[in-house]
Symmetry: C2
Subunit: 356 residues, 2 copies
């Protein structure tokens, strides 16, 4: 069983998950991803993964056999286990040794959900290998799986994310994403909700709606806008070419995105990733879908977004010791580069307003 431990100094959570390491050095960084001819995610190798929990597949094809388009399986090395048989769900404190005044060791049972979403039966490797329609199907799958895990009362928040390339933490090359459901509200989300709630208390407005309006007026960090979405390089970008994609109109929960909107979003996401691929020569990257925690009160306050982080710099001692990032590329310059690329190259079916 994994454990979720709370650091008494920073109140940050850490998942201690020995399920993920077998022999002593199995956890070490591996730069080599598994070659394609041994890929368990390819069509025809279904028995090499845990049994699927969901798949879009042709009607006559049986589970765990070829004939699928997108396949969802439990992670073989889960960070959290779906063992929801215990009673106490909350955080508890381990007993203090004699003579110690305060609570130091906070813990939550490390139960949760960890799924892998295999995005194509073919051995593709990057999101831009999918066409916009296929990427739309992937976004709908994120939405549907998040909807599914929120029905589990033990799960308080969830995140869908993608790691592309070994420098971004990927161990498999075959195009896939992951989804983790947590028994806590993640620290990032807690910090964001704090700021959003304070802002709403003071101004009776959504911080992110105001931020989008401000960015439109400043017009220096916008990359693209479509009917319902906007792509920007955020003011305090932690990494070069960090990108946020958000809905213009306030929407707390990614699960509320309509089928049509997923297609529009897929189109914008694909254009954005194409620009990143071209400008940075197909870098490793991560993207994450940040959506409201699953309690009803949070949903109306939060404003979901996709965060894209090309992995071009390495977190070093300074960043570990201060939690302060050093970004050598101003987001205004990053947005300018990305915008220029899109204006010159990418043809769109949607009515994208390109600023500049």
């Amino acid at each position: 069983m994994s454990e979720l431990r709370r650091d008494p100094l920073t109140n940050q959570w850490v998942i201690i998950s020995e399920e993920r390491s077998g022999r002593p050095q199995d956890f070490m960084v591996k730069r080599n991803v598994r070659p394609s001819h041994q890929c368990p995610f390819c069509e025809g190798h279904e028995e090499e993964t845990p049994s699927e929990v969901f798949a879009t597949r042709s009607e006559d094809s049986p589970d765990n056999k070829p004939g699928w388009q997108i396949r969802v399986v439990p992670n073989k090395y889960p960070a959290l286990l779906p063992t929801f048989d215990h009673e106490d769900e909350g955080t508890f404190w381990l007993p203090q040794p004699d003579g110690i005044a305060g609570d130091l060791y906070g813990e939550t049972a490390g139960c949760g959900i960890h799924e892998v979403i295999i995005e194509s039966p073919k051995h593709l490797t990057r999101s831009t290998d999918l066409d916009a329609k296929q990427l739309g199907n992937v976004l709908r799958m994120y939405r549907n799986r998040l909807q599914n895990i929120r029905e589990n009362t033990h799960i308080r928040s969830g995140i869908a994310f993608k790691n592309v390339g070994p420098e971004a933490g990927a161990t498999m090359e075959h195009i896939h994403s992951q989804l983790i459901g947590l028994p806590i509200v993640a620290p990032q989300l807690t910090a964001e909700l704090d700021a959003i709630t304070k802002y709403r208390g003071k101004y009776d407005r959504c911080l992110l709606c105001d931020l989008i309006d401000a960015e439109k007026k400043i017009a220096q960090r916008i990359i693209t806008t479509t009917d319902h979405y906007i792509a920007i390089c955020p003011y305090a970008s932690r990494q070069p070419y960090e990108i946020w994609i958000l809905p213009h109109v306030h929407q707390g929960d990614f699960c509320s995105v309509s089928d049509d909107s997923c297609d529009e979003l897929a189109h914008l996401l694909r254009c954005t990733l194409q620009s990143i691929d071209a400008l940075l020569d197909k870098p490793a990257y991560n993207y994450m879908i940040l959506t409201a925690p699953f309690d009803t009160a949070s949903i109306s306050h939060y404003h979901w977004r996709i965060v894209i982080i090309p992995r071009t710099t390495i977190q070093a001692g300074f960043e570990f010791g201060t939690l302060c990032c050093i970004n050598p590329i101003a987001p205004e310059r990053a947005a300018h580069d990305l915008r220029n690329y899109q204006q010159s190259v990418i043809k769109t079916d949607y009515d994208c307003e390109l600023v500049d």
Copy 2:
């Protein structure tokens, strides 16, 4: 000029530092460090670095010439610039565009100090290449430079840190550390001081003194103790084999460490890094000295420590999106491995009490 920008969603600070990137892709991850025959940190190549700000060197040797043991130079690509000619030191808000309710864009002038401490005139690469006496000199240099930068009234906190290996963010192979003085209290330090202050308010005790006492009683995560120091794997270790070294007796400020104590600490640090080198086959790693902010009130509350992080795993999309780490090695197991190694191999001059 660099800028320190505050993220309106998380209140985290980011240093936007275009000084660190020249041509468009200069900032990209480079896996190849500069080969030793072109090393500007080696004795005889002094003119290839900025002029030294301090050095321990033989009395008859002139500045910026051979004859030194440890040499301190400004970083050639500084994250922050020492341009302290502006008046307003604090955080200010950029003007809001019309119609936006609240402050969104917080900024501080990106002034600060960024020094490189070259630890040997020879082309050594790892701390364990130094003997304990030389490492003691390095620790005294950290202390003295931190003491020096705290006299600058524009600087509110400082950190000494080391990056070893490209996976840990090092771009130079030659043995060196860095020191950064910030015009803010770093977010990590702010979070820690919050927890420490709350704990003291409630129990009238230092959280870290209590933590050390608790760890001694539990005796599962201690690696080594010496007369004045203790090395542990922290309860909520973010990374496999993360190690903290702390003084037993409450001490807020690393600048208060005596000369003799630096030797004892160097001995313990060296033993600890030897164990890491042996167990993890000379991994990339970072270490950081976390010490109190420079205002007098904080100094008595804080409890300084050295944090060592071997870089064996990669931060992926989940960690970026949640600020929650996944650690596949329980700290109890890590401490056990490190302790066993030290008991079996390392001979010490100091009276180390090895638990188990």
